[in-house]
Amino acid sequence: MLETRLRDYLEAQHETAPQPEDSLSEVMRLGRRRRLWKRTGTAILGAAAALLMVLGSASIFNAAPSVAASPMTGAELPVINEAPVILQGELGPAPQIEPAGTDLTFAPIDEPTANDLAAIDETIQIEGYTDPTVVSLGSIDEFQTNVYVIHDVEPETGNGQSSLVAIGPDYPQFVSVSGPTQNTQWGPSSSRNPDGDGFVAMRVPEDASWGYIQIEIDGATTWQRPSDGFIWVPYNAQPGETIVVTGRDPSNGDIHLETTIDPIDLSGPLADLRAEILSLEAKVEELAAQITILESTRTTADAQTRAEIEEQIQELSQAQEQHLNRIRELHERISELAKKQDS
């Protein structure tokens, strides 16, 4: 009887499978980091997008590519200075994406249901990047509720993408998509959140089976396991400080990368603008919370109260829009200042 034989076979396979590594502490460490991003909320998302735009034009990313020598082969390994280009977009149909200029749409795979949203993180199909028939997948980290960072979107050109997308309740929708990055070589990149804390991201080869990788920062050694092709190294950099990052895979021993990253100078006018953006973002958040509360009470209110509530919601929405307009102006101002700094 096939079924009985199948049960015996599967049971035996299950019993002889190895014990898993005890990864609880690592799981919790990564989970906490993701939760932290969640808690920082929309304010950081907006400001981070602005800062990424700034960083994209700042010297930290535009510095000439440098090289590091492989201790095993002596060959020069390219160090990639990634320059994410964030294209702001509205929720809704996908806009044009550079550099291909073709539509990019996000659609789930495998007949998803609404319940899949919780589990869909890694199952995103991207069609039409270079050809309507091309299907590419991106690996996704949750950034905050309904907002995801997609790494390594791989169109058939062979280049990857680092993308920032939002997947809302009416999925698929998105906010913005970045320009291309390379994904097959080692290289550092860096970014910062608006609080001045930062991290160094080192990309590792996708097709390698990496274990934990040794990281050295300023003489301190830590270990990290690559996640979606990256290792993330947190640091608290001060303007002008130099960070040295060394990555090494002890089991392979053939990768060694050392680079110096000069954090962007966030002092002066940029810092003032940044502070104003954060303040406005907080106000927008507060208004959004008030609107949500009002909306929740609207359905159970009588006709007169409902009209009053709707009036209040409209006023709050207008105030929110004014703040958002000001935030956009500040983003533009930051971009202009960054360009001047860079030149």
């Binding site: 096939l2 079924e3 034989r5 199948l6 049960r7 015996d8 076979y9 599967l10 049971e11 035996a12 396979q13 299950h14 002889t16 499978a17 190895p18 014990q19 898993p20 590594e21 990864s23 609880l24 690592e26 799981v27 919790m28 990564l30 989970g31 906490r32 993701r34 939760r35 969640k38 495998d110 007949e111 998803p112 249901t113 319940n115 899949d116 919780a118 589990a119 869909i120 993180d121 890694e122 199952t123 995103i124 997948l137 690996s139 949750e142 791989e154 996708e206 097709d207 089976s209 396991r225 996640s227």
Partner: protein, 166 residues
Amino acid sequence: MRAWVETDDSTVDVTVRPERFEDFYRVSSVDVYRTLTVVLRDADLAQEAMDEAMTRAFARWSKVRGYGNPAGWVYRVALNWARSRLRRRNREVLVDPEPPGYVDPIPDPQLDEAVAGLPLHQREVVVFRFLLDMTLEQIADLLGIPVGTVKSRLHRALEALRMEVE
């Protein structure tokens, strides 16, 4: 036989819902991992998939612990993640399929070869049905697909296995 639902002699209580994530991890991780290993036939991928799914579960534990079946959620996320990873891997490099990450004597080599030949979407249904002893409805719920799809996948899988071993 593994037990999907709570039974007196269950060795796998995947419906357990501890308050603390640490307890959930301790109770669930071994069986989640081993089942993923059987489904994916790749111990390293199973470990990565479980770690990723557990990380996501921990990041939103306040929600996940309230689900009817937190371990089922972890299975689902892990399988989605692994499926995505396999697609990417297949697209990048055409190589021979990786062997399972464990080398214990194979209990039924003929059947093993036949199971290995099943597409992942059929193999996972077979494992959930015959290893975890889940009902068709439970499998449908876990994978987020209609019961009819579960039935057809199971039917095709068993048909393919019969062709190979009988």
